[in-house]
């Protein structure tokens, strides 16, 4: 093992060794970290390599070539290494003396003594140009052999030679671009494997596997990029064999990189049709985790190929090769500024027959995973028209569902429940959902109803971009009506939401005159619908939305009360809807009830455009509702436990009811600080703390959503007490997270203990809140399954003691 020298005292020789070690090992790892570090798998990969640091150091020191190349004391300045000598000495090879690479040698050997061309470069530049790895420097014979193969094309079949001809070796070797790619992304040798057959390239493949071993998958990407299929398979086999990966693991490992493996793009890149900038964008956009939140979002779930020609005209659109086209926006304003430009792109795309054809073939492999497109409202008609024109089976299906009216009415028909849910099979419903989701509506790439609504709400804050026909997005969500109840009320998962949430009643306390005028203007429509025997609702958008040059209202016919229920809930969650004109008295009552139940207020107008629901009436109804049950009555009711009795707790074989009952039993007995009232509240918190399991949002959000619904059924609670209960439910999770994050080991350092304590204290604004939340937390911990309870409780008690909380 090499001796360790503190940096200030290490001899020059050792310093140089460390420099080489850094160049060969640390720097590539850092690069890998910057690319992969956002994923768990990526971090693991980097750590696996880092774990082998001593072996790598040993290997570098033991490498004769290395010591030959950098004999101690021959250079005063470490950056003054004569690289030509180094290369020549590596394995006694002479790669850069070949005619082919001469130019390249000139370019990369600026410090060669006596060589006046090119001019001297700054030391840092020279370091930057160093090859990443000395382990796979190409063999001169190999290069020559490759040149011959490429020149004669004798070893390639016709199809392959067509590709290869686009990139003769001499051309590509003389290309600075190529050199740069090779040097920056991997090894020179490995890139040449595209020319090899599996048998002939056996050594090369081994070398790639070796590169993989030392530097991780990233370093072999160029090889993969250029490899012909048989070679690629051979590499894959070899790596799987050597590294004992299953094919699935291998694919997962290379998932990000397989996007490069399309020969067309690779060749385009290599011959300069795709420049580095675009390629880098392409890479970055497609590496999971590197996109900033909000930096999405137009995503087409289609094969990329037909789009490329169209999209290549637009330099800032990236095309992923597996299934997405992503237009990225820095933020909402960015989109609004550029919406016309993107509309043009969409227009171009839908004008393209290839794309239309592709759309026709499109089958989403992701099932329910809805992908949607942001389209400026002005372009809806354009899109609609394109869809009608397209003569394909897929679009034909869509077309058959569209009449010659405007798109809005078409959509309205499509979202009619009868058509969707009574049309027979589940498949029909899913199909329709997919058709609509894929083509028409906005930006939400969601994994479920609640997720979509959550994103929608975030979009309103500009975190995600949803604008334009965003109400259509709500409609598309409503179509998944079965899910609707699970997502409301929406509660953002931060402690700060609490006062805001509970104080957000009503949404608007005064009726803007514009809204009244609007309601009166449109009242005749309500009357018309009534006379024609149809139920109807006119939705009035919130005034703040009207400034965005969007519709001020929307007419919805044929909705039953259930639909209105969902519509209202979603409208409230997003604060997008200001009110409704409703032509049926029954439905007005239904709406009122919903608003009271959910503690949100919106204006309702009758068929004559007159306000029918005042804030005073709302408040009165709300107060009545709050007298439904006292805390004591609610606790005695135990219907919640009955409801939970069959649900799994997540702790062994316990049901949620068993767990909840145990937590309730524990409350108030653990800490003595709580007074009787607080104990009662704590019991309430215990009863409500885990009821939302499995609703589809995060666990915390689920729990909070359900708890807040139950709380609205309880009278006699002050706002502060409600907040206390909700925040304790939230913090039950948070305390655990913070303790486990910094303090999972009871032997943790004093510093970690202090850090943990501070981070927990940050959650609370008062001692009372803290104690309350700690009570719940400890009661919860103590209430987990019988088999685990002893140890866990002991550990948690010890930790809380060490933290100074008990």
């Amino acid at each position: 093992m090499p001796e360790y020298f503190p940096p200030d005292h290490e001899p020059r020789e050792k310093r140089r060794i460390r420099q080489i070690f850094n160049e060969q090992f640390v720097v590539p790892l850092k690069r890998a970290l910057s690319i992969y570090g956002n994923t768990k798998a990526g971090l693991k990969r980097v750590l696996r390599l880092l774990r082998r640091a001593p072996q790598m150091e040993e290997k570098i020191l033991a490498n004769d070539n290395f010591t030959d190349a950098f004999p101690a004391g021959t250079n005063e300045d470490p950056v003054g290494i004569d690289y030509e000598v180094s290369f020549q000495d590596l394995g006694n090879r002479q790669p850069y003396q070949s005619e082919i690479t001469h130019q390249q040698v000139q370019e990369i050997t600026p410090t060669k003594p006596g060589n006046e061309h090119p001019p001297q470069k700054a030391p840092q530049d020279i370091i930057d140009e160093l090859p990443n790895s000395f382990l796979a420097v190409p063999d001169a014979d190999f290069l020559l052999e490759m040149q011959q193969k490429l020149t004669t094309n004798s070893d390639f079949d016709k199809n392959d030679s067509a590709k290869v001809k686009q990139l003769p070796l001499s051309e590509f070797l003389n290309s600075r671009r190529w050199e740069k790619i090779v040097r920056s992304k991997g090894t020179f040798l490995s890139t040449l494997t595209r020319c090899l057959d599996p048998v002939e390239g056996e050594d090369t493949i081994k070398s790639i596997v070796q590169t993989f071993t030392y530097f991780g998958p990233e370093s072999t990407v160029p090889a993969m990029l250029c490899a012909r299929e048989p070679v690629l398979d051979a590499i894959k086999d070899e790596i799987c064999k050597t590294k004992k990966f299953s094919v699935t693991e291998f694919d997962a490992l290379y998932f990000e990189h397989f996007i490069f493996l399309d020969p067309k793009l690779a060749v385009d890149y290599l011959v300069g049709k795709q420049d580095d900038h675009n390629m880098n964008r392409h890479i970055l956009k497609n590496l999971p985790g590197l996109l900033n939140e909000g930096q999405q979002l137009i995503s087409f779930n289609h094969n990329w190929e037909p789009y490329v020609d169209v999209l290549s005209k637009h330099s800032d659109v990236s095309v992923s090769l597996y299934d997405n086209i992503i237009f990225s926006f820095a933020n909402q304003e960015d989109f609004l500024e550029r919406s016309e430009y993107y509309a043009q792109i969409i227009d171009d795309m839908f004008s393209n027959p290839l794309i239309a054809e592709e759309l026709a073939k499109e089958r989403s492999p992701y099932g329910h995973y809805t992908k949607l497109i942001i389209i400026n409202p002005e372009n809806l008609e354009k899109l609609n028209s394109r869809l009608r024109q397209a003569n394909t089976s897929w679009l034909g299906k869509m077309r058959s569902r569209l009449d010659e009216q405007n798109l809005e009415e078409d959509i309205q028909k499509l979202i009619d429940r009868d058509e969707i849910f009574d049309s027979g099979t589940k498949r029909d419903s899913e199909e329709l959902d997919r058709l609509l989701g894929d083509v028409y509506f906005t930006s939400l790439k969601h994994t479920g109803m609640s997720d979509a609504v959550r994103k929608f709400a975030r979009a309103e804050k500009g975190e995600f971009f949803v604008r334009g026909n965003s109400f259509s997005a709500i409609e598309s969500i409503i179509r998944n009506g079965a899910y609707a109840q699970e997502c409301i009320p929406y509660i953002p998962p931060t402690p700060n939401f609490l006062p805001g949430f509970l104080n957000s009643i009503p949404v608007m306390d005064s009726l803007p005159s514009e809204t009244i005028k609007f309601a009166q203007r449109n009242a005749s429509l309500g009357e018309y619908m009534r006379q024609s025997g149809e139920n109807g609702v006119i939705i009035i958008f919130s005034p703040k939305q009207e400034t965005k040059q969007r519709s001020t209202h929307r007419t919805v016919k044929g909705f039953d009360s259930d639909d209105i229920n969902k519509l209202t809930l979603i409208g409230m969650a997003t604060d997008e809807i200001a009110g409704f004109i409703v032509n049926s008295d029954d439905q007005i009552e239904q709406l009122k009830k919903i608003m009271v139940d959910t503690e949100k207020f919106m204006h309702i107008f009758d068929k004559n455009g007159q306000p029918t629901f005042s804030i005073e009436e709302f408040t009165t109804l709300l107060n009545e509702k709050h007298t439904v049950l006292s805390v004591e009555e609610f606790l005695q009711e135990n219907t919640i436990l009955a409801e939970l009795s069959q649900r799994k707790s997540g702790h062994g074989d316990d049901t949620l009811a068993e767990h909840t009952q145990r937590v309730m039993d524990n409350t108030g007995q653990i800490f003595t600080q709580a007074n009787e009232r607080m104990k009662k509240l704590l019991k309430l918190a215990a009863l409500l703390h885990d009821d939302g399991k499995g609703l589809g949002m995060s666990q915390t959000e689920d729990n909070l959503a359900v708890a807040s619904q139950y709380l609205s059924r309880i009278g006699g609670l002050s706002l502060y007490e409600k907040q206390l209960i909700l925040s304790s439910i939230y913090n039950d999770e948070e305390i655990g997270v913070k303790i486990l994050a910094n303090f999972d080991d009871l032997r943790a350092s004093q510093e970690d203990v202090k850090k943990t304590r501070e981070s927990i204290l940050e959650l609370f604004s008062s001692q009372e809140e803290l104690l309350f939340a700690l009570d719940l937390y400890f009661a919860d911990v103590s209430g987990i399954g019988k088999d685990q309870v002893m140890l866990t409780t002991w550990r948690v008690r010890e930790k809380l003691t060490k933290l100074g909380f008990i």
Partner: protein, 58 residues
């Protein structure tokens, strides 16, 4: 409290630790052996806990 192991560390926190190890290794303020040990610890951390992936569900 259930499933809270899902939230133990964020990737960002682990990544920062790795960055620091690599920086230290590059500067020579820790040896490759020390770096290796730290890496093993972090590997264990990753093995033990599921991460709450940043942007979960996005």
């Amino acid at each position: 409290m259930s499933d809270r192991n899902n939230f133990v560390f964020t990737l960002d926190e682990v990544r920062k630790k790795v960055v620091k190890i690599l920086d230290d290794l590059e500067k020579g303020s820790i040896s490759s052996e020390e770096a290796s040990k730290l890496a093993q610890k972090l590997e264990k951390v990753i093995e033990e806990y599921e991460f709450a992936e940043s942007g979960k569900g996005e």
